[in-house]
Amino acid sequence: MEVKKRAKIKSFPYEEFKDNESYEKLVQELNANGANVIVTQLDNLIDWGRSNSLWPLTFATSCCGIEFMAVCAARYDIARFGFEVTRNSPRQADVILVSGTITTKMAPVLKRLYDQMADPKYVVAVGGCAISGGPFTKSYHVLKGVDKIIPVDVYVPGCPPRPESFLYGMMQLQRKVKVEQFFGTTNKKQKEPKE
């Protein structure tokens, strides 16, 4: 049984990442069944491609959306990671950055957007509102965390998170993508809807 190497991120030492604990756990879970060498190599190649080409869906509901625009703009330039190709159609996007408050009226819309995305798809909950309802936890019309309706891969706290936090969150996501198995379970996370 070959255990996957820890994913490397350019100019960011592994030890300085936060939450390595959950990460290691994740790596172990994914490799519980093991895989042979060739498959692992192929997996690595595909994961490399995927992790460097996470095209976000342009989805923003409030303040965090403006910070997302700032991340895409010249000073922080998400394009350096290759993520600048924001797609407006969920079919073509790889990651949905839930940036902003999700209200109960918006919740079915968000779920549907998520369902419309093609696998493999990832969710990043950006900002307090998406993580837990944030400033509006006590409101009658706010969903208390998007993880109640869709599976979240990375949580980026902040209100709103500053652009560097955004990029850091995206790197965390890259790390997660880099240990997944194409020829395993992660390629199709969502179950087929029953007719």
């Binding site: 100019s11 936060k18 939450d19 010249a74 000073r75 309802g133 944030g134 209100c159």
Partner: protein
Amino acid sequence: MSNNNYFSGLFSGIKSLLVGLGVTMKEFFTRKITEQYPENRKELKMFDRFRGRLVMPHNENNEHKCIGCGLCQMACPNGSITVTTEMLDTEDGKKKRSLVKYEYDLGCCMFCELCITACPQGAIEFCTDFENAVFDRSKLVQQLNKPGSKAVEKKPVPKPAAPAAKPAAPAAQPAPKATEVAAPAEKKESNPETPTTV
């Protein structure tokens, strides 16, 4: 559309397009302003007042200033802070509240600074750390008092060290008067007649 309009419109239109092309070409050769985040981590420094996450500073003896009064918890608009305390008997026989666990939910915090303003001890402050993304929601609920730490033993109320703590004394004096005298002198030329009222 008359003939004249047709051609003058055409030429002025083309000119405007060329001006635009000139602007972008100029920018093509100017220096780029991108900050390369993970590469520049060493040099990157946040502004002092930037609010990254809440921390409770500990001194070298693993002591913090929190007395567990719970004012921050009450001030917090959305319940991101949970303070657990216990009553301890001190040597002189009195009961004293002491902090057991100071839980802070970074995933819920809205960085309004009300907790810091409310704290009478200056025991908590915001640090400028911004790299907080995690894989697990539960990891965002942090315990701020370090294991084994205890409140610093000090008789007088310590002056807060936190930058955003309560404003110091001057507010109490009849200061508005003084500024009113000072202000028009400085701004005589701008518009002295206009009333200051709103």
